[in-house]
Amino acid sequence: MVSEALAEVLEEFEAIEDRTQRFELLFDLADDVTELPTDEWSEGNRVKGCQSQAHIDVRVEDGLVHLRGGADARIVQGLMGLLSLGMNGQTVDVARQVTLDIVEATGLLNSLTPSRSNGFRTMYDMVMSTMGEA
């Protein structure tokens, strides 16, 4: 089971017909990201393969996932918001339930092949591998 917050937002996406309105919702999600101050942006937490600047920092403390991030493109930060809803403050077990499909569910990226350098997959992989090490 994914977190309630994530499940709710995915339902919201599904209910919206209009692509522009869906982007509006995604833009709003950008505000749900716990900010990673730009002075902490480093090569190590950079999301490679992203056209825009994006950084993400994941820690696991006391079994809970702490996710912070930031991006110059609002859509990218919105996708981080989506991840945050499913992971930030959640147990590793719950966080792990989040799959790549959540982007599909927004209906905004028609398909998520590795070749589309949208960086979401990289972002996702960075988080999962950090949790794997925890």
Binding site: R19, F23, R74, L108
Partner: protein, 401 residues
């Protein structure tokens, strides 16, 4: 203008029901049905490998392939036309075929900050290997080349490589003067005409361009083919680039001798169907009044740029009389990538990013732009719809950067 109905793709919709407005022409243009049909017919009726065969199909294929070369030779008024896979390979052919034969340690070549990566990276690679000095002509704040710096950079230069028309700014460089000055010091000149050739008919003999690189896909033709025009004098200085079938005269274990014509630089089975398609694209272009189209498209670009400015955007480019209809812009309240996504949501295809011109963007102090580029089938009505959408997007999302 041409009839958009000639271009099947332009009647499609995207994201469900949004009619496509294709404004990504500087990246690649769409193809008229005649071009698609010609390639189709080639594969259905004449497909065969070219050269050195006596059967009927091979004869037809060879003639079709060579007809493309002949058409290009006439179009560009060129002495030699080598068919390549595109502008990028054409420039690499100059770097390998001419550069390695002529340039030596300590020699200097002149590039500009306005170049596409395809006209920078091959030279950086060669420069590193051979110890060649690369000089870059700066771009001025008015987005033109610093011609004084250019003249100063020429001393002892063997080659000047310059983009005919910038794919980011639409700026058409003063290639006449650039060539004249380069020739005055005995340097050869390579023009990157990937953007210039689709918008104006270039006469390489009149210009005096030693090399001119072009991509078919940016001028109504298929992917996978382009050409390099070469003067006979420069041709004579070149050594082969890739080795293989068709480019040789005789091969033995001791060594090989090469063809003396363009085939010398066309190793392997060539792009036959692509040549068929490109020829038809050139025939289609020949029916278009490119000068009138230039006026019309420039008018659309100027109007668009003005509207964008009035909406608070910064436009990169100046849209002078000979510039192409490319409009690069940014808005302080919306990231370029977000902008492009939101335009796409309503069917407007634009490009965003560094446009393979990072040094130029660096000079402009930015790392991406949104770029709308217009071509023969685009209309003023499309530009108006575009500005309407931009207005809408900025009203709703324009405070988000």
């Amino acid at each position: 203008m041409v009839d958009p109905a000639d271009f099947p793709i332009l009647s499609r919709t995207v994201h469900g029901n949004q009619p496509l407005v294709y404004l990504d022409n500087a990246a690649t243009t769409q193809k008229p049905a005649v071009v698609i049909d010609a390639m189709d017919a080639y594969y259905r009726h004449s497909n065969a490998n070219v050269h050195r065969a006596v059967h009927a199909l091979a004869g037809e294929a060879t003639d079709a392939y060579e007809a493309c070369r002949a058409t290009l030779r006439t179009w560009f008024n060129a002495e030699r036309v080598v068919l390549t896979s595109g502008t990028t390979e054409a420039i690499n052919l100059v770097a390998h075929g001419w550069g390695r034969a002529v340039l030596n340690e300590g020699d200097a070549i002149v590039l500009t900050e306005m170049e596409h990566h395809s006209d920078i990276v091959p030279w950086q690679m060669l420069a590193k290997e051979r110890g060649i000095e690369v000089r870059y002509v700066p771009v001025l704040p008015d987005m033109t080349l610093d011609m004084e710096a250019y003249e100063a950079s020429l001393e002892g230069a063997k080659l000047v490589c310059v983009v005919h028309t910038s794919n980011v700014l639409g700026v058409r460089n003063p290639v006449e003067r650039i060539i004249e000055r380069a020739h005055a010091v005995g340097a050869r000149v390579l023009l990157d005409a990937a953007q210039g050739a689709p918008h104006t008919r270039i006469d390489v003999k009149a210009l005096g361009a030693d090399f001119l690189a072009v991509s078919a896909h940016k001028m109504l033709g298929p992917t996978g083919i382009g050409c390099l025009t070469i003067t006979q004098a420069a041709f004579d200085e070149m050594q082969p680039f890739m080795g293989g079938g068709d480019m040789i005269e005789h091969v033995s274990l001791e060594g090989s001798t090469y063809q003396s014509n363009e085939h010398k630089f066309e190793a392997g089975t060539p792009r036959i169907a692509e040549a068929v398609g490109w020829k038809v694209a050139m025939d289609y272009l020949a029916e278009v009044d490119l000068e009138a189209e230039h006026e019309r498209l420039l008018g659309i670009a100027r109007w668009t740029a003005e509207q964008l400015r009035s909406l608070g955007c910064t436009v990169y480019g100046r849209h002078g009389d000979h510039d192409s209809a490319v409009v690069s812009f940014l808005h302080p309240g919306l990231h370029a990538e977000d902008f492009a996504h939101l335009l796409d949501a309503a069917g407007f295809a634009v490009r965003t990013g560094h446009h393979c011109a990072q040094p130029l963007l660096h000079r402009l102090g930015i790392d991406s732009t949104v770029r709308a580029s217009f071509y023969l089938y685009n209309t003023m009505a499309e530009a108006e719809a575009f500005i309407e959408r931009v207005t809408h997007v900025l009203a709703r999302f324009g405070g988000n950067a």
